[in-house]
């Protein structure tokens, strides 16, 4: 899944990037602020109907009460460091 890494390795070795495909060109990449991340975390928790502490407890146990809880953990574990450090 991380094939861009290969391209970058080649670039680091002097081979120029520049093979961006039309699909890659069309990809939407947006930059999130810390406030955005905070909103995203809360939205995921709201969908799961759980607090952050409850989702963390489920993650610690390795057993989630629902798919929404599992996905909320994905969001929290992705961005919590950035949000907490801000």
């Amino acid at each position: 899944m991380s094939h861009p890494a290969l391209k970058l390795h080649l670039a680091a070795q002097g081979e120029e990037l520049g093979t961006v495909t039309p699909t890659q060109q069309a990809v939407v990449v947006e930059e999130a602020t810390v406030d955005d991340l905070r909103v995203a975390m809360q939205a995921a928790l709201d969908d799961a109907g759980l607090t952050r502490a409850e989702v963390e407890a489920e993650a610690r146990a390795g057993r989630f009460s629902s798919e929404d809880a599992r996905r909320a953990w994905f969001v929290i574990s992705s961005v919590a460091d950035l949000v907490d450090q801000a």
């Binding site: 899944m1 094939h3 890494a5 390795h9 939407v28 990449v29 996905r71 969001v75 992705s78």
Partner: protein, 234 residues
């Protein structure tokens, strides 16, 4: 002007999009949100304020889908190697369009809070054989199939998105485009090269031993190992 993080995010998301649309889906777009200094979340429908990847219809055209798919990944820019390293990923197969009824899901997390394998698959369902087993865990009443974390190769050798797509096709769960095999083969080859290079960097002495067995002369290994030891000590 795109930052390197944004450029890599575009490439990664574009490759995922192509892989899906050239095999088992139609018109799907994988998006990405980045956060400075190095974070990137990828998935369908991802925006700065929505980091939950949406479920994808597994269908090649306008036919109503009967199986659904979800792919999500969180990556971090590796400052030393200068590439996107996967911090967390999730590939799920569902029987409903909301993604609430899972058939199975492959999860990978570099720093899980629990004792289970960092890369694992969980399969929903019941198992009469499992029902007869007594758990040795005092904190657990009984084993349930969907709660078991089956290990799947760890960080370097875990199944790929290509593997899961192939499974859906060969098991007759998903229809596939005519040239799906070559698409899978090409994407898989690139992935394996990346993973093998990473494994060689992680265990250069084993790589050197294998090359020596093949009759090659490997130079600079002691210096490399000393450098790696010094870096890990810092």
């Amino acid at each position: 002007m795109l930052t390197r993080l944004e450029r890599l995010a575009k490439e990664f998301a574009g490759d995922l999009t192509d892989l899906l649309n050239q095999t088992i889906t139609h018109g799907v777009r994988i998006a990405a949100a980045t956060a400075r200094p190095k974070l990137c979340v990828l998935g369908r429908g991802i925006t700065p304020q929505n980091l939950k990847s949406q479920v994808i219809d597994v269908t090649l055209g306008r036919k109503t889908a009967s199986v659904f798919f979800m792919v999500a990944a969180t990556t971090e820019m590796d400052r030393v190697e200068d590439f996107l390293a996967v911090k967390q990923s999730r590939i799920g197969v569902y029987s409903d369009s909301e993604g609430r009824v899972a058939l199975c899901h492959y999860d990978f997390e570099t720093k899980p809070l629990n004792v289970y394998p960092k890369a694992h698959v969980q399969v929903s369902g019941t198992s009469p054989a499992l029902d007869q087993l007594r758990t040795k865990r005092p904190d657990m009443e009984a084993h349930k199939l969907g709660e078991l974390h089956f290990p799947v190769g760890g960080r370097r050798f875990r199944p790929t998105l290509e593997d899961v797509i192939e499974m859906l096709i060969v098991e007759g769960i998903a229809d596939a485009r005519p040239d799906w095999e070559s698409v899978i083969a090409e994407h898989r080859k690139r992935w394996r090269e990346i993973q093998l290079r990473a494994a060689v960097r992680r265990w250069p002495e084993w790589a050197a031993a294998a090359l020596t067995d093949l009759g090659c002369q490997v130079e600079g290994l002691p210096q490399l190992l000393a450098k790696q030891r010094a870096e890990s000590a810092n």
